[in-house]
Subunit: 610 residues, 2 copies
């Protein structure tokens, strides 16, 4: 039986419930050499005056200001050298009228003097010092306590420590600070199909590796928490209960993932209900609807969805709030590259990627492939939150992007288009950071037109398949790649024509790719099957699912397959003219144009028929 949520709570209610779960953590003392990022637990007042003495802020001469009245280039005042004060020493000199005492920046103003003339406005000849500009009392002197007065509050409770603030504490002679202890966060993964990576090298059919324990552990660390990953709790009520029991004893916050739905098999909400207080289950948000909020004893419990990207997004939204780490949650403002639809009545969290566009700033593009794809996890830099009363955001609108963690920034170069073993090899060198949305030639051409990617690799030739290119798209390189039909000897040494005639089923990669379109143009009555990759198409040949596969020679192990040449296809690398000035793009374009295609089997320069 599928139990339905009786009522979904609005997002604001969820925040209110979270805020009611005051997670009380203790405080501790840390040395200032390692206090970066910590939250100050009590305000700091200065125990001393800074400076602790009247200090010179220039290299020059300490003088009595009245002695310099009227000094100018053509009318210098002449004073007598009266000794020298070094930084760090208490001067043993009393400056008398008509005297000037040499002084370095930071040194103590000797008694009698009340100003400093900059060395650049003086000239010295033995004991005689000429002064070319007058100074007023106090000039170039920082009075005792002028910077910080003893007793002044200099850092406040709740301030997040950073190198500057820590430097300020050091300046006051404080070498330890009282900070909030890191909240202890336990992570409990659930789900019968989940296997911890450390416990198995291979998966049985139906099993998947545990992602959330590790992505969340690092997200918690990023949010300032101290993590314990508990043993995987599968989907058994008793095992989950005993894992929660163990976790709440030592943790301030417990995060669980998976098993949050309202169905009979999803037990997290029941465990929380039975062990403590279930405060909220079901939020008007997508994804994240089945999020569970509760408490067991003094420990706050947050049950996150099992889908990895949903888990990270809801942690960013709800988990950081519990950890009191919202104030420093990474967020950037960016511009929507294409319009986005949403649904009235619930808040949508839309995963997006970021790309830097010179002149426009940051652009965002939608990376939601749905269906729990791991690649959309890796491609999402953050998400935009579309409120429940909004159902459309126009291209060009500014949006606030909640980054999934701190160590996330847009790639130097965003690449789209057809998979290319040559480009793949190129990207593996030292160079700009890249992200490759290798979703095929058609998709790449479209993303280039829509100003999403900087660069795309396209094997469509002049046939743009309905994707109108823009004027400012430049072709920066062209190779030719050898396209072959690979089979398992089934057709002996038959010609291309005879194979096309005999084959019943031919395979290649999906409809977004240029290879698919080439296969469609071949003269054959065979049916076509598509596979997610050329490797998968080749495996289908091995396993007898298809008779032959249209693939690149470069990806084909010729010991294993017989191949027959189909054509040399042009492979164009196109760049958005407006993005050429991006330093990463400039650098990659250089590398691409100097890439020697002959170093790779199945590649040749364009038009080379040798």
């Amino acid at each position: 039986m599928r139990k339905q949520f009786r009522e979904l709570s609005p997002l604001a209610d969820a925040f209110e419930v979270l805020d009611s779960l005051s997670v009380e953590v203790s405080t501790e003392s840390v040395g200032i050499e390692k206090a970066d990022g910590r939250l100050l637990a009590s305000s700091v007042t200065s125990p001393i005056d800074v400076p602790g003495f009247d200090r010179s802020i220039m290299d020059g001469y300490a003088v009595i200001a009245d002695d310099t009245v009227g000094a100018y280039d053509d009318n210098p005042v002449e004073l007598t050298y009266g000794g020298k004060v070094h930084p760090g020493e208490q001067p043993d000199i009393d400056v008398e009228p008509g005297h000037a005492v040499e002084i370095a920046t930071g040194a103590v103003i000797p008694s009698g003097a009340n100003a400093v003339v900059m060395v650049e406005q003086t000239s010295r000849d033995g004991e005689a010092i000429e002064v070319f500009r007058p100074v007023t009392p106090g000039q170039n002197v920082m009075a005792r306590g002028a910077d910080i007065a003893s007793g002044e509050t200099v850092l406040r409770r709740g301030d997040r420590l950073d190198p500057r603030r820590i430097g300020l504490a050091a300046a006051l002679g404080i070498d330890e600070l009282t900070v909030r202890s890191r909240p202890r966060v336990g992570i409990i993964s659930t789900g019968a199909e989940i296997i911890r990576p450390s416990t198995a090298d291979r998966l049985a059919p139906g099993e998947i590796f545990d992602i959330n324990s590790f992505s969340l552990a690092n997200a918690v660390t990023d949010a300032g928490g101290e993590v314990t990953i508990f043993p995987h709790a599968a989907d058994d009520y008793d095992v989950i209960t005993s894992t929660f029991n163990e976790a709440v004893e030592t943790c301030d916050i417990v995060l669980s993932t998976g098993s949050t739905s309202a169905s009979a098999e999803d037990v997290v909400y029941r465990v929380v209900e039975d062990m403590g207080e279930l405060l909220l289950h079901g939020i008007a948000i997508k994804p994240g609807k089945p999020t569970v909020i509760g408490s067991i004893d003094e420990t706050a419990v947050l049950g996150l969805p099992g889908n990895p990207i949903s888990a990270l997004m809801t942690f960013r939204l709800f988990g950081r709030r519990l950890l009191d780490a919202e104030a420093n949650a990474p967020t950037v403002e960016a511009k929507l590259s294409v319009a986005v639809d949403s649904e009235f009545g619930r808040t949508q969290l839309l995963p997006v990627g970021l790309v830097e566009s010179p002149g426009e700033g940051l652009l965002v593009y939608d990376v939601d492939k749905g269906s729990g794809a791991i690649t959309s996890l890796a491609e999402a830099d953050g998400f935009i939150q579309i409120d429940d009363n909004v159902n459309y955001l126009d291209a060009g609108e500014m949006v606030s992007v909640q980054l999934l963690a701190s160590h996330i920034s847009p790639p130097d170069v965003l690449i789209g288009g057809e998979f290319c073993p040559g480009v793949d090899q190129l990207l593996d060198r030292d160079g700009p950071s890249t992200r490759w949305l290798a979703d095929g030639a058609v998709d790449g051409a479209r993303k280039l037109r829509d100003r999403i990617v900087d660069i795309a690799g396209v094997n469509l030739g002049d046939d743009t398949l309905g994707v109108e290119p823009r004027n400012d798209i430049e072709r920066i390189a062209c190779f030719e790649r050898h396209v072959v039909l690979a089979h398992r000897g089934t057709f002996g040494l038959g010609s291309l024509e005879s194979i096309l005639e005999q084959a019943d089923v031919l395979g290649t990669t999906g409809q977004q790719t240029g290879l698919y379109h080439r296969l469609e143009t071949l003269d054959t009555s065979a049916s076509i099957r598509t596979f997610p990759s050329q490797q998968a198409a080749l495996r289908a040949v091995t396993e007898g699912e298809v008779d032959a596969a249209l693939v690149l020679e470069a990806v084909t192990d010729t010991d294993e397959f017989d191949t027959v040449s189909v054509m040399w296809e042009p492979f164009d690398i196109l760049v958005d003219g407006d993005r050429r000035e991006k330093p990463g793009v400039t650098r990659l374009v250089e590398e691409v144009t100097s890439f020697n295609t002959e170093m790779l089997d199945g590649y040749r320069p364009p038009g080379d028929t040798s």
Copy 2:
């Protein structure tokens, strides 16, 4: 003798020299539970297909697509229940024509089936399942390897790890990753006047506490380095040499601070020259001119200036580059609030603070007080780099702000104006994060006019002292504060008039403050001395430097001083109307308006003469 730099190198040359100092660090293996922020040392290819099996991406029924042709609400196709597949199990079912097998999201598609009908498009009655929509082959199925194909490169050398990428590794069963080891960075402080906070509670005149070792240690940690702070090396050539000797043995990079000038007493450049190679000394940049770049054995050496804010800025500019931590250096785009002058011929690093302005985004304001003030260190969020061929930036221009470290963000509320013990007490409660530029009433009124601060406390009454307020500045609260003349019994129980007549020297705080302006209006022939704070003015009374000080009753210890009432002055809290919607401002305004002034000595509600 002051030795001059013969020639200053342009900034670009300094970067080139830094880049030539390739800091080779080793690699190490880290568990994926704690790999956040590390740099991947070698690319990762997937050892498996993801998914490892044809997977359902919906809850529903696995079917043969052909069986559903033509299904619609008024023309459902009826299929027979053929069992159930759970996630995590290898199905033992062969789907035959006319059958539908119940399947959960993530479960393995049973053999025979080639599509999944969503449960929402079906209706079940015992063994009979009605299907209301047709599906095409492959619909709601993610094919084996469709997400990630075995052998595909999923993470590249040089990628910075974050929760998403770590999740991706976990998805492939990888539980350890090879990352670049953290560069080992040694810190050597120099300077005769510098005292480590841990070695002394009090300072002798002329001494100051060591700031740079600690601010830099935390900045290095933030940049991914591992820090060793070496014992303070003062200014002795031999001590500095032996400290460098020790440091280069164990460190990849040595940072020194101070003693970098070209004067006879500044020895860092000579130590580097004598021990290894001095590559560059003197850069056309302000501050940072005397920066030293060199190498000793295999270790890179960077000699930074001694001024704390200059040290942090040059570390951000040069040090992070050596640590290979530029790509994730925190930078934000912001708008200049006021125009800025610079100087042709050298690059200027201008320390700035950040403030959020609704509708405008981030604004920056200049915080350079020069003179090595510690408060400008604490008030600088970052700096803007003004190139050597630019001498003017206009208000409103967009600039790139290099933040001094990651854990830096603008305060929730930026406050200006006169110091007020009542407001100080208020800010010490739990509340929005604040920064208070307490530079006096005149300065506060000006910063409010210039749209720098959100809120200012001003005790100027209607007298704005030439600072024209804007229309959209609102007065949100007014208290009255008791202004007194404090003396050490010198004047017995004399009246205000008699004290003003007898006193020779009166003290108060600086000319930017309202107190100074009040003192100026009093009918006295006494001369006026100003002090950096009311406490300093009171100390001058104690030490006999002035006869009496004009201060607030609230800061005066009445056991120690005799006081005579001068007036109750109005203290206005003004807010920029455009900033009221900032959440922190809204909250602080609420607290200010509900603040009970009677809880504090020397305060009363306006007009209360009781």
